[in-house]
Symmetry: C2
Subunit: 242 residues, 2 copies
């Protein structure tokens, strides 16, 4: 069974959290928008998927994962499915819900990171809300960035199975997402992150551990991995890296 | 088994989505922060829960639901649990993930509603970002509010089992949350919503259908139901209701 991932073709964005899980699980998938529209793929195919033309009703936004008649949107929801189906998380209830909790907190954090450069509206250009973004960035770097990182560091520290994983003693989709979160933050806020490196040894170790997983290392070196850029969630605007 | 819900005692907030599910499922629960701190309840008990002192590691924010040794945070995650355990959602995979997708899209919408009055940072007062909120509100009412409502109306319209529920032919936790979303929008943006009433007959019918469910009707009339106010997510600032 081949999975179909529908996401914008030129940014890592939220689709990247799904890609990392598909890659680590060793699944066969097609990154639909990066294949030719002339063959039925491309962004037009994603627009049809969003409109619900695959038979399961509309979705608000990508990413969307399709597997036969199963069509799933919302990043954390897709990861819940991939995690349950392909062993990227604990089997027991306590672990399953704990991993999903971590993922949803990462999703909240990612939304806040995005809103630093789009504080007024996702419908306006950055240039039209740059002054507001400067104020938002000050508060983000001062208060929200450390609040979230402190939280995840404490989660690792309190894990009874050891600080390698966010939950339990095995890799989960939330660990993969935490890697992407750290990569994105290092890209978007290199100065703010460098200043805080010593406070987050466990998060940095988690980042390194995931980067060295053989399948992830192979993926990161491939051209399937999209670089961060200034059209995505994690943008490097030096003026916001206070 | 008695559930414990940990959430702020004076706002409906995100906790209300959980309360509606617990009430509709007919579950026994204690709203911990609304019980006396002198008896081990109250906000101090919630602070201990957030710090992870109940044995399952820290949580970033309330609500938290506890059931014996199971401690779950993140609204949509709690609802996933209650829905699976107590029949507030479909049993089959397609339905389960579809309901969760709806819930996560409601969560995204609720976050955007909150950010209208807090565009720069949750750490600053409304009064310190009022001018920015005025601009954010214009974009929200013009673009985002109709985009989300159009989506949910289209979801209802495309439901093959009929437009009463978001997914399938039975009540789910996402239907209950859609009710609360509509109630909150009507409270916060009465003029913008009144102007659009005719565009959303199915959403308004869903709101009415949930309000008349016997257990929900009884709950709404009780003092367990907290009124909306200007410390919560859905705030009525007339200047933002453009």
């Amino acid at each position: 069974m081949r999975y179909e991932l529908y996401y914008w073709p030129s940014i890592p964005g939220r689709g990247e959290f799904v890609r990392l899980a598909l890659e680590q699980a060793g699944l066969d998938y097609v990154d639909v928008c990066r294949e030719p529209a002339t063959q039925g793929y491309g962004v037009p195919a994603m627009m049809r998927a969003l409109a619900g033309e695959m038979g399961s009703g509309p979705a608000f936004a990508p990413p969307i994962l399709r597997s036969g008649s199963l069509v799933i949107a919302q990043t954390a929801n897709i990861l819940l499915y991939v995690g349950e189906r392909h062993g990227l998380g604990p089997k027991n209830d306590a672990g399953r819900y704990r991993v999903h909790q971590m993922q949803l907190t990462i999703a909240d954090f990612v939304k806040e990171v995005h809103d630093v450069h789009h504080p007024l509206s996702a419908n306006l250009y950055y240039e039209d809300q740059r002054n507001e973004a400067l104020r938002a960035a000050r508060e983000f770097v001062r208060a929200r960035l450390p609040k979230y990182l402190d939280h995840f560091e404490a989660v690792l520290e309190s894990n009874e199975r050891g600080p390698r994983n966010l939950v339990g003693g095995r890799l989960s989709y939330a660990d993969l997402s935490a890697f992407q979160m750290m990569e994105g933050l290092n890209y978007a806020f290199p100065r703010a992150m460098a200043r805080r490196r010593r406070k987050y040894p466990l998060l940095l170790a988690l980042r390194d551990y995931v980067a060295k997983l053989p399948r992830i290392a192979e993926y990161l070196a491939s051209d399937r991995r999209l670089p961060f850029n200034e059209a995505g969630i994690f943008r490097h605007y030096p003026e916001l890296d206070t």
